[in-house]
C-alpha cells in the first residue's frame, strides 16, 4: 500500500477505552497522520479495516467481544500486507510475542509516550 505523495497516512485506532483512543488520536494528529476511524472492539476493528483500508492499525490487545490477537489474525489473513501495531501494557510480554508471531509489525507500551508512538508508527510505515 503506497502512500500518495502529499497525503497523510491514515490510521485506524482500535481500543475499547475512549481515554486511550483520545490520547492516540492526539498523538497521531500531532504527528501529521490522518485518523481513518476509531473502533471499540475487535469485531468492529476487523469490519472497519475491510471498509476503510487504513495504512496503519493501532490495536489494543485486551478488548471485549474479540481480542486484539483474534482481530489481528483475521486482518492479516485477509490482507497479509496489513500494518498493525499492537498496544500492550506491562506484564503482557507473552501476548505481545504471540501477536508478533501472528503478524503484528510492532508494539507500543502503555502509558504511551508521544515520541515512541510516532517513532514506531513511522518505522512501520517505512518498512
Amino acid at each position: 500500500m503506497k502512500r500518495i505523495a502529499g497525503m497523510a497516512h491514515r490510521v485506524l485506532i482500535v481500543d475499547d477505552a475512549l481515554f486511550m483512543r483520545s490520547i492516540l488520536k492526539d498523538i497521531f494528529i500531532g504527528g501529521g497522520f490522518e485518523i481513518a476511524g476509531e473502533m471499540q472492539d475487535g469485531v468492529d476493528g476487523v469490519r472497519a479495516y475491510r471498509e476503510l483500508r487504513p495504512d496503519l492499525v493501532i490495536m489494543d490487545l485486551v478488548m471485549p467481544n474479540k481480542s486484539g490477537i483474534e482481530a489481528l489474525e483475521e486482518i492479516c489473513a485477509e490482507d497479509p500486507a496489513a500494518r498493525v501495531v499492537m498496544c500492550s501494557a506491562l506484564g503482557q510480554e507473552e501476548l505481545v510475542l504471540k501477536a508478533v508471531q501472528v503478524g503484528a509489525r510492532d508494539f507500543i507500551v502503555k502509558p504511551f509516550q508521544q515520541e515512541r508512538v510516532l517513532e514506531v508508527a513511522r518505522r512501520v510505515m517505512e518498512g
Binding site: A17, F19, M20, I23, A89, L90, K110, P111
Partner: protein
C-alpha cells in the same frame, strides 16, 4: 505530554469500569464467578490500569495491576472461590476510593494494607511499601464503615453528549438568530401579521431547543440504582437477613437535577426497607415507570409493615398531633407522620439506619424538586414508598395566581383542581369561611393572604377562587384573589437570604420582566401537625358572604 486534558475522560471512564466490576461480581454472587465473568473483570481492571498509568496515578495503577494478577490467578484456577469474593469487592471499593481521591485532587490513599492482606502476593508494576502489621479485621472494618456512607455520585455532574445533538444545538441557534432578524424587520415595517407569524415560529424553535436541552440532561435511573445491589448485599450481611433485591425500569431516563435530588433519599429508603421492613427474609423491590407527565419511583418491601398505632403514640408523645386530630386522621395521613422531623418508629436505632438522612429529609428533598411522597403500608404485608417525580427539574408548568399586589407561581403538579366556590358551598366558623364541601369531603379553606400576611382584600367578589392542593399532606382549598393563567417557566433557584423564605422554592421571570416567586403549598406553612396549627384553626378566611 500534557495529560490534564484527558482527566475528564479518565474520571468518567474509570468510574464506569469500576462500577462494571462491582456489577459483574454482584451479579454472579451466590453462583460461582465463571470464566467469562473473570475475563470481563480482567478487561475492566486492565483498562483501569492502563489509564491510571497514563495519568500517573501510581497507586491506582498498582491496585488495578494487583487485581488483574489476582484475576489471572482465578482464571487459571477456573473460578473465584467464594471466600475470595469479598476480597475482590474490597479491592474494587478501594479502586473507587482512589478515584474519589483523584477526583477531589487529594493524594491517593494508602493501598499497602490491602495489598498486604492478599494471600497471593504477585509482582506489582509499582513499588509500594507493604505494611503487614495492620490486621485484616481493622482494614475490613474501615472499608465496611466507609462504604456505607453514601457518596454522592459525581457522574451526575458530567454528561456525554453525542455530536449530532451538539450539531442540532448549533442549527437551532442559527435558526433563532435568523428568526430574531425576521422579527426585527417585521417590527420595523410594523407588519403585525408577519410579526405574529415569526413569533409563532420562534416559539416552536424555543420549544425544540427546550426539548433538546432536556434530552441532554436525561440520564438513566440506572446511574443511581446501579449501586443498590451492593448496598443491599452488605446490609443483608450485616443484619443477617436474606434479602432479594428486584429492580425494574432502571432504563427510565430522568433529568439530572431530579436524579441528584433523589440519590440520597433512594439509598435511605432501600436501607430502611432492609433494616426495618424485612423481618428475616424477604424482597425489596425498586420499580420505576412513567405516568403521564411524571415519573414514579417505588421502593417497596414485603416485610412487617408500619405499625400505625405506634406512629400515632409516638406523634402524641412528641406533641406532633392532638388526640382529637389523631382519631380523625385518615390512614395515609398518619403514615405521612413518619416524615415529621424527629419521629423515628424504629425500636432501636441501628448502625445502618440510625445515620444519614431521615424520612423528613427524604420528603423535603422530594418537595424541593416539586415531587411528592406517597406512603402505603399494611401490617405484616409490607410498605411501599412512591416517589412522584417531575420529568424536568428546571422547567416546569406554573399556575399564576394573584394575591394582593403580588403575582405568584404554583407548580401545576401541586394543583389538583381550580374551583370557584359560591357562598352557599362555604361552611362558616365564627363568622368566617373555614371549609367547603367537595363531594363527601369537608375541605379546609386556607387563605393565601393570611399566610403571606397581606391584609384582607375587598370582599366584593361573588365567588372565591380556590386552588385545590395539599398542604403538609392534607388536602386544602387555597384561597387566592384570582388565578392568572398558566405558563412554562424556567425556575431559577434563590440564594441567601431569599432561600430562607418558607414555602418559596424558586423564582422565574415573566414576559414583562417581572420577577415572581414560586411557592410550594406543601411547605408554605410551618409544621402542620404542630399544636393548634391545623388549617381550620389558623388560616380561616374572610367570609365570602
Amino acid at each position: 505530554m500534557d495529560m490534564s486534558k484527558y482527566r475528564g475522560i479518565f474520571l468518567s471512564e474509570a468510574k464506569e469500569h469500576i462500577r462494571e466490576m462491582s456489577r459483574i461480581v454482584l451479579a454472579v454472587e451466590g453462583g460461582a464467578i465463571d470464566g467469562e465473568s473473570i475475563n470481563a473483570l480482567f478487561r475492566q481492571a486492565h483498562s483501569v490500569k492502563g489509564m491510571a498509568a497514563s495519568m500517573g496515578y501510581a497507586r491506582m495503577e498498582a491496585l488495578a495491576h494487583h487485581l488483574e494478577n489476582a484475576l489471572e490467578g482465578f482464571r487459571l484456577r477456573g473460578g473465584v472461590p467464594l471466600q475470595e469474593v469479598d476480597r475482590l469487592l474490597e479491592g474494587i471499593d478501594l479502586l473507587e476510593q482512589l478515584l474519589h481521591d483523584i477526583e477531589a485532587e487529594r493524594p491517593e490513599r494508602d493501598i499497602a494494607p490491602y495489598l498486604a492482606t492478599t494471600s497471593d502476593p504477585l509482582p506489582c508494576a509499582c513499588s509500594v511499601a507493604l505494611v503487614p502489621s495492620i490486621s485484616h479485621e481493622a482494614i475490613t472494618a474501615e472499608i465496611e464503615g466507609s462504604e456505607l456512607r453514601f457518596r454522592r455520585d459525581d457522574t451526575l455532574r458530567t454528561v456525554r453528549v453525542q455530536t449530532q445533538v451538539l450539531d442540532r444545538f448549533v442549527d437551532l441557534t442559527g435558526e433563532l438568530i435568523t428568526s430574531r432578524y425576521m422579527l426585527q424587520s417585521a417590527a420595523e415595517a410594523k407588519d403585525w401579521e408577519a410579526l405574529q407569524r415569526h413569533l409563532e415560529h420562534q416559539g416552536r424553535l424555543i420549544g425544540d431547543l427546550h426539548h433538546q436541552v432536556r434530552q441532554v440532561r436525561l440520564m438513566p435511573l440506572e446511574s443511581l440504582t446501579g449501586r443498590l445491589p451492593r448496598l443491599v448485599r452488605d446490609l443483608a450481611r450485616r443484619t443477617g437477613k436474606k434479602v432479594r433485591l428486584q429492580i425494574e425500569g432502571e432504563e427510565l431516563e430522568l433529568d439530572r437535577g431530579v436524579l441528584e435530588a433523589i440519590a440520597d433519599p433512594l439509598v435511605h429508603l432501600v436501607r430502611n426497607a432492609v433494616d426495618h421492613g424485612i423481618v428475616e427474609h424477604g424482597t425489596v423491590s425498586v420499580r420505576a415507570w412513567r405516568e403521564r407527565d411524571q415519573a414514579i419511583l417505588e421502593v417497596a418491601d414485603d416485610g412487617r409493615g408500619i405499625d400505625v398505632d405506634r406512629v400515632v403514640r409516638k406523634a402524641l408523645e412528641k406533641n406532633l398531633i392532638t388526640s382529637a386530630l389523631a382519631s380523625s386522621l385518615p390512614r395515609r395521613e398518619i403514615l405521612q407522620l413518619i416524615c415529621a422531623p424527629g419521629l423515628s418508629t424504629a425500636g432501636t436505632i441501628t448502625e445502618t439506619s440510625g445515620r444519614g438522612v431521615g424520612m423528613d429529609v427524604v420528603k423535603s428533598a422530594l418537595e424541593g424538586i416539586g415531587g411528592r411522597l406517597e406512603i402505603a403500608s399494611k401490617e405484616g404485608k409490607g410498605t411501599s414508598f412512591r416517589l412522584h417525580l417531575p420529568l424536568s427539574a428546571a422547567i416546569i408548568h406554573l399556575l399564576l395566581v394573584d394575591c394582593g399586589e403580588h403575582r405568584l407561581g404554583i407548580p401545576f403538579n401541586r394543583v389538583q383542581r381550580l374551583l370557584e366556590i359560591r357562598p352557599d358551598q362555604v361552611r362558616l366558623r365564627q363568622g368566617k369561611a373555614s371549609s367547603f364541601v367537595l363531594g363527601e369531603e369537608d375541605v379546609p379553606l386556607v387563605s393565601l393572604r393570611k399566610i403571606l400576611r397581606i391584609g384582607a382584600g375587598q370582599s366584593g367578589a361573588a365567588t372565591l377562587s380556590v386552588v385545590l392542593t395539599e398542604m403538609r399532606g392534607r388536602r386544602v382549598g387555597l384561597v387566592v384573589d384570582r388565578t392568572a393563567g398558566g405558563r412554562q417557566a424556567f425556575v431559577k433557584g434563590l440564594s441567601y437570604p431569599l432561600d430562607q423564605l418558607q414555602g418559596v422554592t424558586g423564582s422565574t421571570i415573566l414576559g414583562d420582566g417581572r420577577i415572581i416567586f414560586i411557592i410550594d403549598p406543601q411547605s408554605l406553612t410551618g409544621t402542620r401537625f404542630g399544636r393548634g396549627a391545623h388549617p381550620q384553626d389558623r388560616e380561616s378566611c374572610p367570609s365570602a358572604a
